[in-house]
Symmetry: C2
Subunit: 224 residues, 2 copies
Protein backbone atom coordinates (compact mmCIF):
# COMPACT_ATOMS: atom_id res chain seq x y z
CA UNK A 1 0.00 0.00 0.00
CA UNK A 2 2.89 2.29 0.77
CA UNK A 3 4.44 0.45 -2.13
CA UNK A 4 1.74 1.55 -4.51
CA UNK A 5 2.53 5.24 -4.01
CA UNK A 6 6.10 4.97 -5.27
CA UNK A 7 6.62 6.02 -8.87
CA UNK A 8 6.43 3.23 -11.39
CA UNK A 9 10.01 3.36 -12.72
CA UNK A 10 11.45 3.09 -9.30
CA UNK A 11 9.32 0.07 -8.72
CA UNK A 12 10.33 -1.78 -11.85
CA UNK A 13 13.91 -2.16 -10.70
CA UNK A 14 13.02 -5.18 -8.61
CA UNK A 15 10.41 -7.73 -9.51
CA UNK A 16 9.45 -8.30 -5.86
CA UNK A 17 8.37 -4.97 -4.34
CA UNK A 18 9.23 -5.98 -0.78
CA UNK A 19 11.45 -8.74 0.38
CA UNK A 20 9.04 -11.67 0.67
CA UNK A 21 7.75 -12.59 4.08
CA UNK A 22 10.27 -14.72 5.87
CA UNK A 23 10.54 -16.30 9.29
CA UNK A 24 13.23 -13.75 10.11
CA UNK A 25 10.96 -10.81 9.35
CA UNK A 26 8.17 -12.37 11.40
CA UNK A 27 10.56 -12.88 14.29
CA UNK A 28 11.82 -9.31 14.13
CA UNK A 29 8.30 -7.91 14.05
CA UNK A 30 7.28 -10.11 16.98
CA UNK A 31 10.22 -8.86 19.05
CA UNK A 32 9.31 -5.29 18.14
CA UNK A 33 5.71 -5.82 19.14
CA UNK A 34 6.56 -7.53 22.41
CA UNK A 35 8.95 -4.73 23.27
CA UNK A 36 6.22 -2.13 22.91
CA UNK A 37 3.76 -3.34 25.50
CA UNK A 38 5.21 -5.77 27.96
CA UNK A 39 1.83 -7.20 28.80
CA UNK A 40 2.35 -9.74 26.08
CA UNK A 41 -0.44 -8.38 23.91
CA UNK A 42 1.13 -10.20 21.00
CA UNK A 43 -1.64 -11.16 18.61
CA UNK A 44 -1.42 -12.93 15.29
CA UNK A 45 -3.63 -10.26 13.75
CA UNK A 46 -1.58 -7.41 15.15
CA UNK A 47 1.59 -9.14 14.03
CA UNK A 48 0.22 -9.51 10.52
CA UNK A 49 -0.89 -5.88 10.43
CA UNK A 50 2.56 -4.76 11.49
CA UNK A 51 4.03 -6.71 8.59
CA UNK A 52 1.43 -5.40 6.13
CA UNK A 53 0.22 -8.92 5.51
CA UNK A 54 -3.00 -10.86 5.85
CA UNK A 55 -3.43 -12.64 9.12
CA UNK A 56 -3.54 -16.13 7.74
CA UNK A 57 -0.43 -15.61 5.68
CA UNK A 58 1.65 -16.06 8.80
CA UNK A 59 0.57 -19.67 9.01
CA UNK A 60 2.37 -20.45 5.80
CA UNK A 61 5.71 -19.69 7.47
CA UNK A 62 4.89 -20.65 11.03
CA UNK A 63 2.87 -23.49 12.47
CA UNK A 64 1.50 -21.87 15.58
CA UNK A 65 1.72 -18.82 17.81
CA UNK A 66 3.93 -20.72 20.25
CA UNK A 67 6.44 -21.00 17.44
CA UNK A 68 6.49 -17.23 17.10
CA UNK A 69 7.15 -16.84 20.82
CA UNK A 70 9.90 -19.44 20.73
CA UNK A 71 11.49 -17.64 17.81
CA UNK A 72 11.31 -14.29 19.58
CA UNK A 73 12.79 -15.67 22.79
CA UNK A 74 15.62 -17.33 20.92
CA UNK A 75 16.22 -14.16 18.92
CA UNK A 76 16.99 -12.34 22.16
CA UNK A 77 19.54 -15.03 22.95
CA UNK A 78 21.10 -14.62 19.55
CA UNK A 79 21.12 -10.83 19.82
CA UNK A 80 24.04 -10.95 22.25
CA UNK A 81 26.53 -13.36 20.73
CA UNK A 82 29.15 -14.85 23.06
CA UNK A 83 32.25 -12.65 23.30
CA UNK A 84 35.64 -14.01 22.23
CA UNK A 85 37.14 -16.09 25.03
CA UNK A 86 39.92 -14.49 27.05
CA UNK A 87 42.43 -16.06 29.42
CA UNK A 88 40.41 -15.46 32.58
CA UNK A 89 37.48 -17.87 32.73
CA UNK A 90 35.88 -15.96 35.58
CA UNK A 91 35.87 -12.75 33.58
CA UNK A 92 34.48 -14.59 30.57
CA UNK A 93 31.59 -16.03 32.56
CA UNK A 94 30.91 -12.67 34.15
CA UNK A 95 30.71 -10.78 30.88
CA UNK A 96 28.61 -13.53 29.32
CA UNK A 97 26.12 -13.37 32.17
CA UNK A 98 26.17 -9.59 32.36
CA UNK A 99 25.43 -9.17 28.68
CA UNK A 100 22.71 -11.75 28.87
CA UNK A 101 21.17 -9.86 31.76
CA UNK A 102 21.32 -6.60 29.85
CA UNK A 103 19.53 -8.25 26.94
CA UNK A 104 16.88 -9.63 29.27
CA UNK A 105 16.28 -6.24 30.81
CA UNK A 106 16.00 -4.74 27.34
CA UNK A 107 13.34 -7.35 26.49
CA UNK A 108 11.68 -8.12 29.83
CA UNK A 109 9.04 -10.38 28.32
CA UNK A 110 11.68 -12.90 27.27
CA UNK A 111 12.62 -13.43 30.91
CA UNK A 112 9.05 -14.31 31.78
CA UNK A 113 7.96 -16.39 28.77
CA UNK A 114 9.52 -19.64 29.65
CA UNK A 115 6.84 -22.25 29.31
CA UNK A 116 8.69 -24.18 26.65
CA UNK A 117 12.18 -25.67 26.52
CA UNK A 118 13.29 -23.04 24.00
CA UNK A 119 16.38 -24.93 22.89
CA UNK A 120 16.89 -22.87 19.76
CA UNK A 121 20.24 -22.10 18.16
CA UNK A 122 20.59 -18.90 20.16
CA UNK A 123 20.19 -20.65 23.48
CA UNK A 124 22.42 -23.51 22.42
CA UNK A 125 25.33 -21.34 21.32
CA UNK A 126 25.04 -19.35 24.52
CA UNK A 127 25.08 -22.52 26.60
CA UNK A 128 27.89 -23.87 24.49
CA UNK A 129 30.08 -20.88 25.27
CA UNK A 130 29.27 -21.08 28.97
CA UNK A 131 30.01 -24.78 29.27
CA UNK A 132 33.08 -24.54 27.06
CA UNK A 133 34.47 -21.81 29.29
CA UNK A 134 33.86 -23.84 32.42
CA UNK A 135 35.32 -26.96 30.83
CA UNK A 136 38.42 -25.06 29.76
CA UNK A 137 38.77 -23.85 33.34
CA UNK A 138 39.27 -27.46 34.34
CA UNK A 139 36.03 -28.31 36.12
CA UNK A 140 34.54 -31.76 36.24
CA UNK A 141 31.80 -32.61 33.79
CA UNK A 142 29.39 -32.86 36.71
CA UNK A 143 30.47 -29.48 38.01
CA UNK A 144 30.17 -27.94 34.57
CA UNK A 145 26.59 -29.10 34.16
CA UNK A 146 25.45 -28.12 37.64
CA UNK A 147 27.23 -24.77 37.50
CA UNK A 148 25.87 -23.86 34.09
CA UNK A 149 22.32 -24.52 35.25
CA UNK A 150 22.63 -22.56 38.44
CA UNK A 151 24.20 -19.68 36.52
CA UNK A 152 21.44 -19.85 33.93
CA UNK A 153 18.78 -19.80 36.63
CA UNK A 154 20.51 -16.87 38.28
CA UNK A 155 20.42 -14.56 35.26
CA UNK A 156 17.02 -15.67 34.17
CA UNK A 157 15.48 -15.54 37.63
CA UNK A 158 17.08 -12.26 38.57
CA UNK A 159 15.84 -10.56 35.44
CA UNK A 160 12.39 -12.11 35.80
CA UNK A 161 11.99 -11.02 39.41
CA UNK A 162 13.21 -7.54 38.61
CA UNK A 163 10.89 -7.25 35.64
CA UNK A 164 7.76 -8.54 37.36
CA UNK A 165 8.38 -6.47 40.47
CA UNK A 166 8.97 -3.35 38.44
CA UNK A 167 5.55 -3.54 36.84
CA UNK A 168 2.89 -1.33 38.24
CA UNK A 169 4.29 1.09 40.80
CA UNK A 170 0.87 1.38 42.40
CA UNK A 171 0.71 -2.31 43.16
CA UNK A 172 4.23 -2.22 44.54
CA UNK A 173 3.41 0.61 46.92
CA UNK A 174 0.28 -1.22 48.00
CA UNK A 175 2.36 -4.31 48.60
CA UNK A 176 4.83 -2.40 50.71
CA UNK A 177 2.02 -1.04 52.85
CA UNK A 178 0.49 -4.49 53.17
CA UNK A 179 3.87 -5.81 54.23
CA UNK A 180 4.25 -3.26 56.98
CA UNK A 181 0.70 -3.79 58.15
CA UNK A 182 1.43 -7.50 58.64
CA UNK A 183 4.85 -6.85 60.10
CA UNK A 184 3.97 -9.22 62.93
CA UNK A 185 3.92 -12.16 60.53
CA UNK A 186 6.94 -11.07 58.53
CA UNK A 187 9.26 -9.27 60.94
CA UNK A 188 12.45 -9.82 58.95
CA UNK A 189 10.96 -8.75 55.63
CA UNK A 190 9.38 -5.67 57.13
CA UNK A 191 12.54 -4.75 59.01
CA UNK A 192 14.83 -4.48 56.03
CA UNK A 193 12.06 -3.00 53.86
CA UNK A 194 13.87 -3.84 50.66
CA UNK A 195 12.09 -6.93 49.37
CA UNK A 196 10.01 -5.19 46.74
CA UNK A 197 12.13 -2.21 45.82
CA UNK A 198 15.70 -3.27 45.63
CA UNK A 199 19.11 -2.69 44.08
CA UNK A 200 19.09 -5.48 41.54
CA UNK A 201 22.50 -4.71 40.11
CA UNK A 202 24.33 -5.53 43.30
CA UNK A 203 21.95 -8.38 44.04
CA UNK A 204 22.96 -9.90 40.75
CA UNK A 205 26.67 -9.25 41.20
CA UNK A 206 26.73 -10.66 44.72
CA UNK A 207 24.80 -13.77 43.78
CA UNK A 208 27.13 -14.38 40.88
CA UNK A 209 30.11 -14.00 43.19
CA UNK A 210 28.70 -16.56 45.63
CA UNK A 211 28.28 -19.14 42.89
CA UNK A 212 31.69 -18.61 41.33
CA UNK A 213 33.45 -18.58 44.71
CA UNK A 214 31.71 -21.72 45.83
CA UNK A 215 32.42 -23.41 42.54
CA UNK A 216 36.16 -22.74 42.66
CA UNK A 217 36.41 -23.67 46.32
CA UNK A 218 34.62 -26.96 45.79
CA UNK A 219 36.69 -27.79 42.74
CA UNK A 220 39.90 -27.04 44.63
CA UNK A 221 38.82 -29.19 47.57
CA UNK A 222 38.63 -32.24 45.31
CA UNK A 223 36.37 -33.36 42.51
CA UNK A 224 33.00 -35.05 43.03
Amino acid sequence: MAERSRSLWLRTTSARPDPPLTVERITAAAVELLDEDDVGQLTMRRLADRLGVGTTTLYWHVDTKEDVIDLAVDAVFAATPPPPPGDDWRADVTTLLTERRAALLRHPWSAVMRRRPAVGPGFLSWMEFLQATLTRAGFTSRDVTAASWVLYSHVQGSAASQATLRWSVAERREGQLMLERHSASYPTLAAQRHLLDDDWDTNFALGLAYVLDGLTARAAAGAT
Copy 2:
Protein backbone atom coordinates in the same frame (compact mmCIF):
# COMPACT_ATOMS: atom_id res chain seq x y z
CA MET B 1 -28.85 -30.68 39.64
CA ALA B 2 -27.37 -33.63 41.50
CA GLU B 3 -28.94 -31.91 44.47
CA ARG B 4 -32.37 -32.16 42.97
CA SER B 5 -32.28 -35.98 42.81
CA ARG B 6 -31.79 -36.46 46.54
CA SER B 7 -34.91 -37.25 48.49
CA LEU B 8 -36.62 -34.32 50.04
CA TRP B 9 -36.23 -35.19 53.78
CA LEU B 10 -32.57 -35.65 53.45
CA ARG B 11 -32.37 -32.26 51.90
CA THR B 12 -34.27 -30.49 54.61
CA THR B 13 -31.73 -31.32 57.29
CA SER B 14 -29.50 -28.44 56.27
CA ALA B 15 -30.63 -25.24 54.71
CA ARG B 16 -27.39 -24.89 52.72
CA PRO B 17 -26.82 -28.09 50.74
CA ASP B 18 -23.13 -27.48 50.10
CA PRO B 19 -20.69 -25.23 51.85
CA PRO B 20 -21.04 -21.98 49.94
CA LEU B 21 -18.52 -21.17 47.26
CA THR B 22 -15.45 -19.57 48.76
CA VAL B 23 -12.14 -18.36 47.45
CA GLU B 24 -10.52 -21.30 49.21
CA ARG B 25 -12.67 -23.83 47.36
CA ILE B 26 -11.99 -22.08 44.06
CA THR B 27 -8.27 -22.17 44.77
CA ALA B 28 -8.32 -25.86 45.67
CA ALA B 29 -10.25 -26.74 42.53
CA ALA B 30 -7.87 -24.71 40.39
CA VAL B 31 -4.86 -26.52 41.84
CA GLU B 32 -6.60 -29.84 41.23
CA LEU B 33 -7.36 -28.91 37.65
CA LEU B 34 -3.88 -27.63 36.92
CA ASP B 35 -2.40 -30.80 38.36
CA GLU B 36 -4.39 -32.96 35.98
CA ASP B 37 -3.13 -31.65 32.66
CA ASP B 38 0.04 -29.66 32.89
CA VAL B 39 -0.66 -27.88 29.66
CA GLY B 40 -2.42 -25.22 31.63
CA GLN B 41 -5.82 -26.00 30.15
CA LEU B 42 -7.32 -24.15 33.08
CA THR B 43 -10.56 -22.60 31.91
CA MET B 44 -13.06 -20.59 33.85
CA ARG B 45 -15.84 -22.78 32.47
CA ARG B 46 -14.04 -25.99 33.38
CA LEU B 47 -13.28 -24.63 36.81
CA ALA B 48 -16.92 -23.74 37.35
CA ASP B 49 -18.05 -27.17 36.14
CA ARG B 50 -15.67 -28.83 38.56
CA LEU B 51 -17.22 -26.86 41.38
CA GLY B 52 -20.76 -27.57 40.24
CA VAL B 53 -21.38 -23.89 39.72
CA GLY B 54 -22.32 -21.59 36.90
CA THR B 55 -19.39 -20.03 35.10
CA THR B 56 -20.17 -16.47 35.94
CA THR B 57 -20.55 -17.21 39.62
CA LEU B 58 -16.78 -17.33 39.93
CA TYR B 59 -16.60 -13.64 39.16
CA TRP B 60 -18.44 -12.84 42.34
CA HIS B 61 -15.51 -14.18 44.38
CA VAL B 62 -12.66 -13.43 42.01
CA ASP B 63 -11.94 -10.49 39.76
CA THR B 64 -10.13 -12.19 36.93
CA LYS B 65 -8.52 -15.41 35.82
CA GLU B 66 -5.09 -14.07 36.69
CA ASP B 67 -6.31 -13.89 40.28
CA VAL B 68 -7.13 -17.58 40.20
CA ILE B 69 -3.63 -18.38 38.93
CA ASP B 70 -2.04 -16.18 41.57
CA LEU B 71 -4.08 -17.92 44.24
CA ALA B 72 -3.10 -21.35 42.95
CA VAL B 73 0.59 -20.47 42.79
CA ASP B 74 0.53 -19.06 46.29
CA ALA B 75 -1.35 -22.10 47.54
CA VAL B 76 1.57 -24.28 46.49
CA PHE B 77 3.85 -22.03 48.52
CA ALA B 78 1.55 -22.36 51.51
CA ALA B 79 1.28 -26.13 51.10
CA THR B 80 4.80 -26.62 52.45
CA PRO B 81 4.99 -24.48 55.55
CA PRO B 82 8.46 -23.57 56.81
CA PRO B 83 9.84 -26.19 59.22
CA PRO B 84 10.73 -25.23 62.81
CA PRO B 85 14.18 -23.63 62.89
CA GLY B 86 17.04 -25.77 64.21
CA ASP B 87 20.49 -24.76 65.34
CA ASP B 88 22.21 -25.32 61.99
CA TRP B 89 21.28 -22.54 59.57
CA ARG B 90 22.71 -24.45 56.64
CA ALA B 91 20.52 -27.46 57.33
CA ASP B 92 17.52 -25.18 57.76
CA VAL B 93 18.06 -23.53 54.40
CA THR B 94 18.65 -26.88 52.74
CA THR B 95 15.44 -28.45 54.02
CA LEU B 96 13.48 -25.31 53.18
CA LEU B 97 14.73 -25.36 49.61
CA THR B 98 14.40 -29.12 49.24
CA GLU B 99 10.81 -29.12 50.38
CA ARG B 100 10.02 -26.20 48.12
CA ARG B 101 11.55 -28.11 45.23
CA ALA B 102 9.49 -31.19 46.02
CA ALA B 103 6.35 -29.08 46.03
CA LEU B 104 7.29 -27.53 42.70
CA LEU B 105 7.87 -30.93 41.14
CA ARG B 106 4.52 -32.08 42.48
CA HIS B 107 2.87 -29.08 40.80
CA PRO B 108 5.10 -28.37 37.77
CA TRP B 109 2.84 -25.64 36.41
CA SER B 110 3.55 -23.43 39.42
CA ALA B 111 7.22 -23.36 38.48
CA VAL B 112 6.39 -22.07 35.03
CA MET B 113 3.54 -19.63 35.73
CA ARG B 114 5.50 -16.70 36.96
CA ARG B 115 4.29 -13.76 34.96
CA ARG B 116 3.15 -11.86 38.00
CA PRO B 117 4.89 -10.81 41.21
CA ALA B 118 2.91 -13.37 43.21
CA VAL B 119 3.68 -11.84 46.57
CA GLY B 120 0.91 -13.67 48.40
CA PRO B 121 1.01 -14.75 52.03
CA GLY B 122 2.47 -18.15 51.10
CA PHE B 123 5.42 -16.64 49.29
CA LEU B 124 5.93 -14.02 51.98
CA SER B 125 6.05 -16.47 54.86
CA TRP B 126 8.42 -18.68 52.88
CA MET B 127 10.68 -15.72 52.16
CA GLU B 128 10.38 -14.61 55.74
CA PHE B 129 11.69 -17.92 57.02
CA LEU B 130 14.55 -17.92 54.54
CA GLN B 131 15.68 -14.39 55.32
CA ALA B 132 15.19 -14.88 59.06
CA THR B 133 17.41 -17.95 58.96
CA LEU B 134 20.13 -16.12 57.06
CA THR B 135 19.86 -13.12 59.34
CA ARG B 136 20.15 -15.33 62.42
CA ALA B 137 23.25 -16.86 60.88
CA GLY B 138 24.86 -13.45 61.11
CA PHE B 139 24.99 -12.33 57.50
CA THR B 140 24.86 -8.71 56.41
CA SER B 141 21.55 -7.29 55.33
CA ARG B 142 22.99 -6.97 51.80
CA ASP B 143 24.13 -10.56 51.83
CA VAL B 144 20.80 -11.75 53.14
CA THR B 145 18.91 -10.08 50.33
CA ALA B 146 21.23 -11.16 47.56
CA ALA B 147 21.50 -14.71 48.89
CA SER B 148 17.77 -15.14 49.30
CA TRP B 149 17.17 -14.08 45.72
CA VAL B 150 19.82 -16.34 44.25
CA LEU B 151 18.49 -19.24 46.32
CA TYR B 152 14.95 -18.46 45.22
CA SER B 153 16.02 -18.37 41.57
CA HIS B 154 17.86 -21.63 42.01
CA VAL B 155 14.89 -23.66 43.24
CA GLN B 156 12.47 -21.99 40.91
CA GLY B 157 14.70 -22.21 37.86
CA SER B 158 15.83 -25.74 38.52
CA ALA B 159 12.29 -26.99 38.84
CA ALA B 160 11.17 -25.00 35.81
CA SER B 161 13.95 -26.33 33.59
CA GLN B 162 13.37 -29.87 34.76
CA ALA B 163 9.64 -29.58 34.16
CA THR B 164 9.84 -28.02 30.71
CA LEU B 165 12.55 -30.40 29.54
CA ARG B 166 10.64 -33.40 30.80
CA TRP B 167 7.66 -32.62 28.63
CA SER B 168 7.28 -34.54 25.44
CA VAL B 169 9.84 -37.32 25.20
CA ALA B 170 9.55 -37.28 21.41
CA GLU B 171 10.65 -33.67 21.23
CA ARG B 172 13.52 -34.37 23.59
CA ARG B 173 14.81 -37.22 21.46
CA GLU B 174 14.51 -35.05 18.38
CA GLY B 175 16.43 -32.33 20.16
CA GLN B 176 19.18 -34.75 21.10
CA LEU B 177 19.52 -35.85 17.47
CA MET B 178 19.57 -32.26 16.30
CA LEU B 179 22.25 -31.52 18.83
CA GLU B 180 24.48 -34.31 17.60
CA ARG B 181 23.87 -33.37 13.99
CA HIS B 182 25.18 -29.87 14.69
CA SER B 183 27.99 -31.10 16.90
CA ALA B 184 30.36 -28.87 14.96
CA SER B 185 28.63 -25.77 16.32
CA TYR B 186 28.18 -27.11 19.84
CA PRO B 187 31.12 -29.41 20.53
CA THR B 188 30.98 -29.15 24.31
CA LEU B 189 27.26 -29.71 24.55
CA ALA B 190 27.36 -32.67 22.19
CA ALA B 191 30.38 -34.17 23.94
CA GLN B 192 28.84 -34.51 27.37
CA ARG B 193 25.43 -35.41 25.91
CA HIS B 194 23.64 -34.55 29.14
CA LEU B 195 22.10 -31.16 28.45
CA LEU B 196 18.60 -32.38 27.79
CA ASP B 197 18.40 -35.55 29.83
CA ASP B 198 20.07 -34.98 33.13
CA ASP B 199 20.24 -35.90 36.78
CA TRP B 200 18.41 -32.96 38.25
CA ASP B 201 18.69 -34.07 41.86
CA THR B 202 22.46 -33.77 41.94
CA ASN B 203 22.36 -30.68 39.75
CA PHE B 204 20.19 -29.06 42.37
CA ALA B 205 22.27 -30.26 45.32
CA LEU B 206 25.55 -29.17 43.76
CA GLY B 207 24.24 -25.76 42.80
CA LEU B 208 22.92 -25.24 46.30
CA ALA B 209 26.30 -26.22 47.72
CA TYR B 210 28.09 -23.68 45.51
CA VAL B 211 25.89 -20.85 46.69
CA LEU B 212 26.08 -21.72 50.37
CA ASP B 213 29.84 -22.28 50.24
CA GLY B 214 30.44 -19.03 48.44
CA LEU B 215 28.15 -17.20 50.81
CA THR B 216 29.95 -18.39 53.94
CA ALA B 217 33.37 -17.79 52.43
CA ARG B 218 32.50 -14.25 51.41
CA ALA B 219 30.98 -13.49 54.79
CA ALA B 220 34.05 -14.86 56.58
CA ALA B 221 36.39 -12.79 54.39
CA GLY B 222 34.75 -9.58 55.60
CA ALA B 223 31.40 -7.90 55.11
CA THR B 224 30.51 -5.83 52.07
